[in-house]
Subunit: 368 residues, 2 copies
């Protein structure tokens, strides 16, 4: 697959982007990367890489020779703190816009950006378009659990949702888990403040009814304390909750490590035990580390787009490119489209759907 | 202070309730407890306690002699899975209702319940009443941080909030921190998905304006990843978010301990190091353990009411009674009332307040 990488996006761009692309190509044999950004800057970075006297130099030269890594010029960059609306209107030749256009024109199969996430999402949405049956695309993030993982959707694209949005997130998440993790019947849960049907806020109580009446494998409400104990494969929530869950987990695991280190240093054998424990701590960190996951797909658009953390390292970019490759290869957006079109309307309570103002469902329901 | 304890409320009632009351009295010299519940059952439990041949027996006898522990009969109990509305209407002589009535009549200074939290909150609200200036009472939970603590408000009483509710939570939380932790100018933060003013959902964006225009020490939006790093003394959010934060933290610390244990056991010196590390791990657990905090105050009502975890142990009940004693002694509800009445209306943008349908503010603003 050919991945268009927004080589100018992210706090550490373009260095980590170039390095991440080289690593991704070196570690696989089916990925090509188009670095999108300032041609002079990127050429210089690649050449500097070629002149480094390390083991990777020859491999990089091979990549360039084989055209597995190429450069596509763009004259503008969207800065991280820029107003999204302005950037979208003014910067027609930004690296993210050109990268998305490569997917639109079919020159690339997927796009990866660690730049301004609002601009990246909107650009992908505007130029690749939404899948039929999707009101709002959402970000899915794979999170670790005690013995596995779950997809958290929406992780931050939509801060104010309607019940039907959550239902659509569930279908998109289900398609993701079927495709990427080969689960036949993904368990769908929804974050709420109690397990009972009646617990929750207005949004989740209405969404509960829709999910219960759907043909998904809905396992009910899940409380915050249970999400990390393998209770569901897809955890649905609005983007405000999802983003809070994501960032809280990041902060808590960070504070845990610091507290543990402090507790250890108060013991007389503290330093020794920290050394002994380092492998265990490293494994835990790895589990909670966004770099390992690389990036999160924007689900519900007609194409493959990976949104990476602004603070992405080369490792994170490398993994994001790999994820993009996997999703594009599996045609995830087509799977989502199919999943949504396969909704058995007669098994869903039409009245409920009308109540929550679900246009596409309404239409399908009338048709059926 | 005299604490009315709902002795029949909670998963492990009445045993842990009786034991917790005895412990609280033994460890302090200014607390009296009225055990509210079935007289025969409670008398039997207390007597059984007297016949235990441990060190506490004599102390318990002394408590009974000195009337520091007494029993008030109530003929009914609200079960944990009961429908709240029905229980409130039908069970006029429930232990929680009788306990609240003791505060209302002035026979007790505070009430503690680990029973059905919805019923406990509503009973306290109905019979003790709201403070003037409060639209919705909220639950405040003290949470640990790397080097201190913060009050999370609302932790679950109100799942759907208006901006003005968050403003009131901020004032209530500010009064709590001033009174209980003796902070002169508590830092108020609000959970959102980005630090900038413009980040958030409809609710938080409106609430941001109110908080910014208030006379509180508002430090702005706080992301989930920063709440545990001493960024604020009071963290404001709606009850759905608050409850999710609370339960997610519980779940994550649990999974963290399990992962660490597993990682350790995979090392050849794993068992040994786990033994060596036990004190450090115990300290860490203590920090994240709800038992230590005992219970959470329902803030905004005209009296002192502590809501404890349904799974409360004797230790949790003991600590809840101590917290109740402290808050009642400090007259926290009077402090909150004062804090709310001290709002400098001229420093708040009146138009904003009218927009968000803030009755009491509107009135005060017109007055001012």
């Amino acid at each position: 697959m050919i991945v268009a990488l927004d080589a100018m996006g992210g706090d550490n761009a373009p260095d980590v982007n170039v390095e991440g692309a080289i690593e991704a190509i070196r570690e696989t044999d089916d990925i090509e990367v188009i670095l999108v950004g300032n041609k002079d800057v990127l050429t210089e970075k690649l050449h500097a890489r070629l002149h480094m006297k390390d083991m990777a130099t020859k491999a990089t030269a091979n990549m360039l020779d084989s055209k597995r890594i190429t450069i596509r010029h763009s004259s503008e960059v969207v800065e991280m703190n820029e107003a999204a609306t302005l950037a979208l209107r003014k910067k027609k030749d930004s690296s993210i816009r050109v990268a998305v256009d490569l997917v639109k024109s079919g020159e690339a199969n997927a796009v990866v950006s660690a730049g301004h996430s609002g601009v990246a999402m909107t650009t992908a949405l505007l130029y690749l378009g939404k899948l039929s049956g999707v009101d709002r695309p959402a970000i899915g993030v794979v999170m670790p659990t005690l013995n596995g993982r779950f997809l958290l959707i929406d992780s931050g694209a939509n801060v104010d949702c309607k019940p039907v949005n959550l239902l659509q997130f569930a279908y998109m998440g289900s398609a993701y888990v079927k495709t990427v993790f080969a689960e036949k019947s993904p368990r769908i849960g929804m974050i709420s403040i109690g397990e009972e049907d009646t617990k929750g806020n207005e949004l989740t109580k209405e969404a509960f009814k829709l999910l219960k009446d759907s043909n998904l494998n809905f396992v009910g409400n899940i409380e915050g304390k249970d999400v990390f104990f393998d209770t569901a494969d897809v955890v649905v929530c609005d983007g405000f909750i999802g983003n809070t869950v994501l960032k809280l987990s990041e902060g808590l695991s960070d504070v845990f490590m610091k507290m543990l280190k402090r507790e250890l240093s108060s013991l007389w054998f503290g330093k020794l035990s920290y050394l002994l424990l380092r492998p265990a701590i490293r494994n835990f960190k790895k589990l909670m580390n966004y770099e390992e996951y690389g990036g999160a797909p924007l689900l519900g658009i007609d194409g493959t787009c990976i949104i990476s953390h602004g603070r992405s390292t080369a490792k994170a970019i490398r993994n994001a490119i790999k994820v993009a490759n996997k999703l594009a290869k599996n045609n995830l957006h087509k799977q989502i489209s199919e999943e949504l079109s396969s909704i058995n309307c007669s098994s869903i309570n039409g009245k409920e759907l009308l109540n929550v103002n679900c246009k596409y469902k309404e239409k399908e329901f009338v048709k059926g």
